[in-house]
Amino acid sequence: MLSVQERAHIAQVWDLIAGQEALFGAELLRRLFTVYPSTKVYFRHLGDHPDEVQLLNHGQRMLQAVGVAVQYMDNLRAVLSPLADLHAQVLRVDPTNFPLVIQCFQVVLASHLQGEFTVEMQAAWDKFLTGIAVVLTEKYR
């Protein structure tokens, strides 16, 4: 359950990302693959050494989905249902990988927002992204 303040923090940070989903998404993936190389096994369709265009394209898709989650944060289960099906039936990403993405996401936010990435924002986004991960892995079994 997200409080009113948490929702405000989430929306406030999203305002900075909106319109730049590709750039933020590419940086997220670049950091994920550099810091946690084992995650690349789930992105083989991007090749062994994904180029900038591939990172931008796939990053944009991921961040656009986050944007949808921001828009419907009271109803994640319904709005992310198709993605939950995809992860359960096709992608089958081991649930232990989601905290790795969440960590990299926070580092991206922190490096862009610097001092403005307050502890309240970090707490709200950590909780929000963890909620998304729970929904995406809920149908696994």
């Binding site: 810091v35 580092v107 927002l113 610097q114 001092g115 502890v119 970090q122």
Partner: protein
């Protein structure tokens, strides 16, 4: 044993030279207690942890945060023998403090986020990778003597 490459050691050392230990240490521990409130269970003796501002301003939190980050400074001097370096601290955290080692990983992750807020673009993916490897290794070293 974890092996750090020359590049990783250089990356860690170059950033460490610019780290404000007081600021990063105290902020990291405060963020841990706020973002993951259940971690407060280990700090009953620290006094007022009832609000975010209380935690951020708590002198015991600041002092302990500084102490923790200073131990990272020691780790960086002994990156080839972290288990030996942290053996005594590991026993302390197990036998006296009874801290779940998961907390070491959580705090390590938060230290990275705080470093990113301070260093922004200079906290490159390669820098993040080297530091993540270090914080993971320190967490493992601190858990090594648990029984």
């Amino acid at each position: 044993m974890v092996h750090f490459t020359t590049e990783e050691k250089a990356a860690v050392a170059s950033l460490w030279a610019k780290v404000n230990v007081e600021a990063v240490g105290s902020e990291s521990l405060a963020r841990l207690l706020i973002v993951y409130p259940w971690t407060q269970r280990f700090f009953d003796s620290f006094g007022n942890l009832h609000s975010e501002s209380a935690i951020m301003g708590n002198p015991k939190v600041k002092a302990h945060g500084r102490k923790v980050l200073n131990s990272f400074g020691n780790a960086i001097k002994h990156m080839d023998d972290l288990k030996g370096t942290f053996a005594d601290l590991s026993e302390l955290h197990c036998d006296k403090l009874h801290v779940d080692p998961e907390n070491f990983r959580l705090l390590g992750n938060i230290i990275l986020i705080v470093l990113a807020t301070h260093f922004s673009k200079k906290f490159t993916p390669q820098m993040q990778a080297a530091w993540q490897k270090l914080t993971n290794a320190v967490a493992n070293a601190l858990a090594h003597k648990y029984r």
